[in-house]
């Protein structure tokens, strides 16, 4: 599928809109509450966010497929384009840049020039949050859950975040393997 056609799909897929600030505030509250509940154990907060995202992704993929009516991607590069130009466009109205491909086409980076989840956010000034908390970690889980439902096992993590004082917000996504959808031999 051509790049422009993919971009148009993201524009046209009709989705009801809600106030963006409501989303930002809701998400911010969740992260803050998690930090409190886990006594500022930011590693654990990252893990919980990823888990929550995973559960969202497994459900959201059906919405994505039903509303965008896209077919199966031929390769991982097409998948990356679809994530950025259709998925993120539909649900967050952003189009992160797909870049930094490895030569085997199995790993890429998403650069977020804007991130609606992180508007108004300043990380706690306790000397650790800046180094340990990945505020938008839920997005990694969403991608992992959604792609697992369409037979792709991936690994996703943030490598930099403007909230931490980095220049960019970058997520690294790696394809682990394609999950065979055939039945296991013992079931046949």
């Amino acid at each position: 599928m051509s790049a422009t056609k993919t971009a148009r799909l993201g524009e046209e897929s009709r989705v009801d809109k809600v106030n963006a600030e409501l989303v930002t505030l809701t998400y911010g509250t969740i992260v803050a509450q998690l930090c409190q509940d886990y006594d500022e154990d930011y590693m654990e907060v990252n893990k919980q966010l990823d888990k929550m995202g995973y559960n969202i992704g497994m459900r959201l993929i059906e919405d994505f497929l039903a509303k965008s009516t896209v077919g199966r991607c031929a390769n991982f590069r097409e998948t990356a384009d679809m994530i950025s130009k259709v998925g993120f466009k539909m649900f967050l109205n952003i189009t992160p840049t797909v870049t930094n491909w490895t030569s085997d086409n199995n790993q890429f980076s998403l650069i977020f020039e804007e991130n609606p989840l992180a508007d108004f956010v300043e990380l706690p000034d306790d000397g650790r949050a800046q180094d340990e908390l990945w505020f938008s970690n839920i997005l990694c889980g969403v991608l992992r859950g959604a792609l697992e439902m369409v037979q792709m096992q991936i690994e996703a993590h943030f490598v930099s975040d403007v909230l931490r004082g980095d220049d960019t917000t970058e997520m690294r996504v790696s394809l682990v393997r394609y999950i065979e959808d055939e039945m296991p031999p013992d079931e046949e």
Binding site: R59, E62, D63, L65, T69, V150
Partner: protein, 185 residues
């Protein structure tokens, strides 16, 4: 132009939803519906696996028969010896076969038709199957199926208390489905 009933089968072959939209339809027992779902799932998997594959022809042989939907018949007897040898090797190496239409992904059974009804199967990319029983003369079934998929994504998948892969007991889904189908009729 009626939609008779809908069955949803999860990716493991389990029945998760069954509903009639017309009164007076003959019903099966719950157990028979489960068997029907499981059987259809199996048949669907088999129809996928029997999709004809064409042996990828070596460049030296002309590609005249490549558009045929059945495996290439053996050429004249003089060549058959060498052909047989190459063929016995090919099943082990996957890329030696191509599908009739490489651009289109392999799907399983999509339509089953009798004089009295038509069964349309739509499998989502996540493996869930929607089986729609309709009047054989009904048009635009694809549109109906896509709308049902959308309703399913909204009222089933987005219900936070719906457990994935489990039977669908979502009252809002039932209601919206019935309302929308009534609105069409």
């Amino acid at each position: 132009m009626a939609v008779y009933s809908l069955i949803i089968i999860n990716k493991a072959g389990g029945l998760v939803y069954q509903r009639e939209f017309q009164s007076g339809l003959r019903k099966l027992s719950t157990n028979d519906y489960l068997v029907l779902a499981g059987t259809f799932h199996g048949v669907h998997a088999i129809t996928r696996s029997i999709t004809p594959k064409l042996p990828a022809l070596p460049p030296s042989i002309t590609t005249g028969s490549s558009s045929s939907s059945t495996p290439t018949p053996l050429p004249s007897s003089t060549q058959s010896q060498s052909q047989t040898q190459t063929r016995t090797q090919t099943p082990t190496s996957g890329p030696a076969f191509t599908l009739p239409n490489p651009g289109i992904p392999t799907t399983g059974l999509e339509v089953l038709e009798t004089d009295k009804f038509r069964l349309t199967c739509f499998q989502t990319l996540t493996g869930t199957k929607f089986l729609l029983f309709t009047d054989p003369g009904m048009v635009n079934i694809d549109g109906v199926v896509m709308k049902i998929y959308e309703l399913y994504a909204d009222y089933v998948m987005k219900n936070p208390f719906y457990q994935l892969e489990m039977p669908v007991r979502c009252e809002a889904f039932d209601r919206h489905l019935a309302t929308w189908l009534r609105g069409r009729a």
